[in-house]
Symmetry: C2
Subunit: 219 residues, 2 copies
Amino acid sequence: MNDVTAEAMQGGRPRGRPKQRSDAEERQRIVALACELFLDVGYGGTTMDGVAARCGISKKTLYRLFPAKTDLFNAMVADNRRTMLALPRPDDDLPTADALAAIFRLDVEEADNNERLAFIRLAMADSDRYPEIAEAITQEGAEPALRLLTGWMARQQERDVLRPFPPRTAARMLMDMVFGVLVKRFPGDELQTREDRFAHARHCIDVFLNGLAERPAAR
Amino acid sequence: MNDVTAEAMQGGRPRGRPKQRSDAEERQRIVALACELFLDVGYGGTTMDGVAARCGISKKTLYRLFPAKTDLFNAMVADNRRTMLALPRPDDDLPTADALAAIFRLDVEEADNNERLAFIRLAMADSDRYPEIAEAITQEGAEPALRLLTGWMARQQERDVLRPFPPRTAARMLMDMVFGVLVKRFPGDELQTREDRFAHARHCIDVFLNGLAERPAAR
DNA sequence: GCGTTAAGAAACCCAAGAGTTTCCTAATGG
DNA sequence: CCATTAGGAAACTCTTGGGTTTCTTAACGC
């Protein structure tokens, strides 16, 4: 509808029945809905029939805008370049524990957070099975996050806040610990509520920082 | 062939062509080969055609011994009740870091270890997708392992080797950290060699113990 | 040889899911 | 009214994989 105006400006509307929404708009809408599906049931569990039904459109229209399922997925990844970790403010002089909590975004809203976690879960679960996807999702999500955290580690060591330790190793450790519990949901797992998981995450940060703390005569 | 003798003892061999191997034997052989496949390509990636081909038998025979794919899988899980973690000797007075290295079995042979890790990887990757499997594998593998480690944590705290800390939380932390890197293989991951991964695991144990160490006036 | 059982090869059935096509019904400009 | 484009509904193709069946051949006891 809105593109009618745009079209009109550049030499009259084309013949025939106008599109209900512009392609760009419709793509956005589809990606958003498909995203929910992907995050909910994974790549393999998401069917194009399901996406079409969810969007209230026919497969024909869907395939016109996204010729293949992978295109849809890639569009979602590109769209969803929200970071797993938050960039720390360069001038941050928070206590280290709070700084890490901020980096891991232990403060975001429930809805936002669920989406982010579902994304991470998807990355962990499906990257083995669909190698086509693995690269995109790993390179867009995990690797930048790891680099971000590695940089932070190195900086804290330079400031003598943390004892010397291979920073990338440390970053990986912490990510495995925190995301391990933020993401997994085993059948009979405790740590069901958001509060449980965040408490666990803070425990992880606590032990981690304590284990890496600069001390006069440690161990 | 070997069961000919057994059969003969209990009232003569049955009519017709004898089986090439006894059912029990053949089942064992199939489970062993199927295991490699499951561990290699996952539950979803393993096809019954593939199993039959690998075993050099026909699907008919395969289905006579295992009426469904899940039966085959369950047989493998039951057969494979090898523990993810090693039971610590109750009188262990190793240094704590070595004790943990032993519990995580950072000393086992390469072949054994690959199998164990493949099993853990399978558990982590497929338990979301195939709920039928999730329970078996989680209940047989992850939960006992977590309990084992939790018990060890509690004991070290009683002995004042570790500072007071929710033991199950601590156990989970450490498992996520260690298995996270032992198990994952991302496309562009470093930590490719066994040595790299074990070095990382020891680093994890180091930081973890340091973070939980009993200290006169910690923090 | 004959009845009987084992077992392979290969065709087959069935369901699911990606992707395509056909047919029909809007909506619009001319 | 008519050409033209959008788009839904649904049938269709094709592939994959779990599971079944048919046909044939091999191996035994009698």
